[in-house]
């Protein structure tokens, strides 16, 4: 590299070294960053993904006894990575009027046990720690910190559709 005679050659060499050092750092950072985005994106994104919600048919509104929670098993196909799995999930359908049905998740909000309907006590009861809920899902007794999760519902030509 030709150096103008009025520039100190030692200083020019130091400057060149510094420039090349920075070039190396910049290029390696770019390469590493690109790889980092691809690899990091692939590693992190499945862990952060939210499952898509959808409307599933849960039964006929005419089959439901008014104000009596009826346990219905929903089969929810879910993509689990490469695999398609079917989650079986029990929800309680409660017909509150001719045109309205509420749907409650059967998972106890305390520690995740499966609640069931006790028709004598007219309560949803959790077998694990004695959590109790009324037919709206509100906690009436026991340790559950929150009411049962309610799903959105709609009626379509006599079919009850639940959004899960």
């Amino acid at each position: 590299m030709s150096t103008p005679s009025d520039v100190d050659p030692a200083a020019a060499a130091t400057g060149r070294r510094r420039f090349l050092g920075r070039l190396v750092a910049a290029l390696q950072t770019t390469i590493g960053g690109t790889l980092g985005v691809v690899l990091g994106g692939a590693v992190l994104s499945p862990g952060l993904a939210k499952s898509a919600e959808r409307w599933l048919p849960a039964g006929k509104v005419d089959d439901l006894v008014p104000n009596q929670p009826t346990a219905v098993m929903l089969r929810i196909t879910r993509q689990d990575g490469y695999a398609q799995v079917v989650d079986r999930r029990t929800v309680f359908l409660i017909r509150t009027s001719d045109t309205a049905v509420t749907a409650l998740d059967s998972t106890c909000t305390h520690l995740g046990c499966r609640v069931s309907w006790n028709s004598e006590a007219q309560e949803l009861v959790c077998p694990c720690h004695g959590g109790r809920y009324d037919r709206t899902g509100a906690v009436t007794a026991g340790p559950p910190p929150a009411p049962l999760t309610a799903f959105e519902t709609r009626l379509d030509d006599g079919d009850v559709l639940v959004r899960v």
């Binding site: 070039l23 390469i31 691809v38 490469y82």
Partner: protein, 526 residues
Amino acid sequence: MALGPVLDWLDSRTGYRAGLSHLLDEQLPAGVGWWFVTGSILLFLLGVQLATGVVLTMFYVPTPDHAHESVRYIMEGLPFGRLLRGLHFFGASFIVVAALVHMLRVVLFGSYKKPREVTWMTGVVLLLVILAFALSGYLLPWDQKAYWATTVTINVARSGPFGELVAGVLRGGEALGALTLLRWYSAHVFLLPACLIVFVVSHVYLMRRHGISGPAEPQAGPSVPFHPYQLARDTLAMALVFAVLVGAAAMFPAPLDEVADPTDATFVPRPEWYFLSLFQLLKYFPGPLEPIATVGIPGLVVGWLFALPFIDRAPGRRLRDRPLVAAGFAALGVGVVGLTALGLRDSPPNEGPRWTPLARAGATFVQDARCTACHREGGGGGPIEALRPLRDPEWVRAHVRDPEVLVPGTRQPPEGAMTLGQAHSVVSYMRRVRARTGPLPAVSAQEGAAAMIAGRYCSSCHMLDGEGASSAPDLTTVGRTRDATWLREWIADPALVDPAASMPAFGQVLSEDELEAVVSHLAARR
């Protein structure tokens, strides 16, 4: 920044600065230039392959049941997955090229000579390890290419010494299957990386021990430190290669054929380009001569490579002082390039999945209410399009005839039954859907009718395009030997043409239009 004292402390406990300085401040002989970036590029590409490979193992499943689906998921479902697999897939080819370029550079500069013989030999081992990586890697997606190319590889191994033993070890079981896939996977992710790391470390250690060889003729001038002068060249070259690699991975999806099908007779296996020359070589040594191509010639080439520093012992490193070595590599290069070109010409790439008449018929059959009663979103069976066609047509037919037998508690057997041809058609359709064949193209009403008849009746006994039953002659190219007139008479009533015919008459089964449709379809098959 209070980082200084922390680094000082770290250095006092580890001495990392001296280590770094040892790595970076190596003095290189004058005249080391762009030619000497090849090794760094190779090392960099191996690093990329290692990093992408580790992430791929988080999503890949090494079993015949799930391998293909898991690769499909990486390509289509996983964010950045297409790019990830693309980097790994094209990276393999880049590495083979980079390794060959590096080797040619070493040969060009005579760098293998005393005292660097062992450095060269570890390099030859690394070339073999890289080829083993490539070979084991392409079985893993468990697609058609993987399956058939590996079948060929294992059969090639049988022709060598202790052939059956070697083939058995490669297969891991009685036939190419789950055990094969697992051991090739294990080799690809544990064994070979371990070998690679050991030999890369040895190779780099020896390179540093003897110093970089530098130009063939020593040049006058002061030596220069590796950092930043040569490192800048290395890094620029890496960045360029990496940019091309990312570009390739972003622009072209890494190929994935249909899932491996051991019964498919229509698939023509063709290995990756870097094995094509060996594959082609096989064609010139048939029968008992085969070991010459499978073991003899490759063995001689590898042996010659290993022995090169001992054969060529003259001290001169300039290429013009070594005409025999130059001629040897030129001959090897011409041979490999020539065979690869012939191989490319002889075995055109497979067209990929396409809609056959049976697949077209299957698309209609699966819309039958007896199927969709269960096979729908949220239904007991899941949509047919989402199912993996793991079962053969015999199973499908049995399933439809009496589901209670196969899946107790499902439902009553449906009325009516499926023909074997319909079952073949449904399986064919499912395979096309899984292979992402694209939308079903529109055809004329007559061609559509012919497809339905072929699916419902013909394929119950005959083979068409590699699909269907094989109890009667293959009809794929029936138009070459039979014309429309003969076909019409035969299909309407075979007994009138040949009293000994075992095929039933279809004159009463098919309408005149249907008969016309199927006859013109078959007559056009040439």
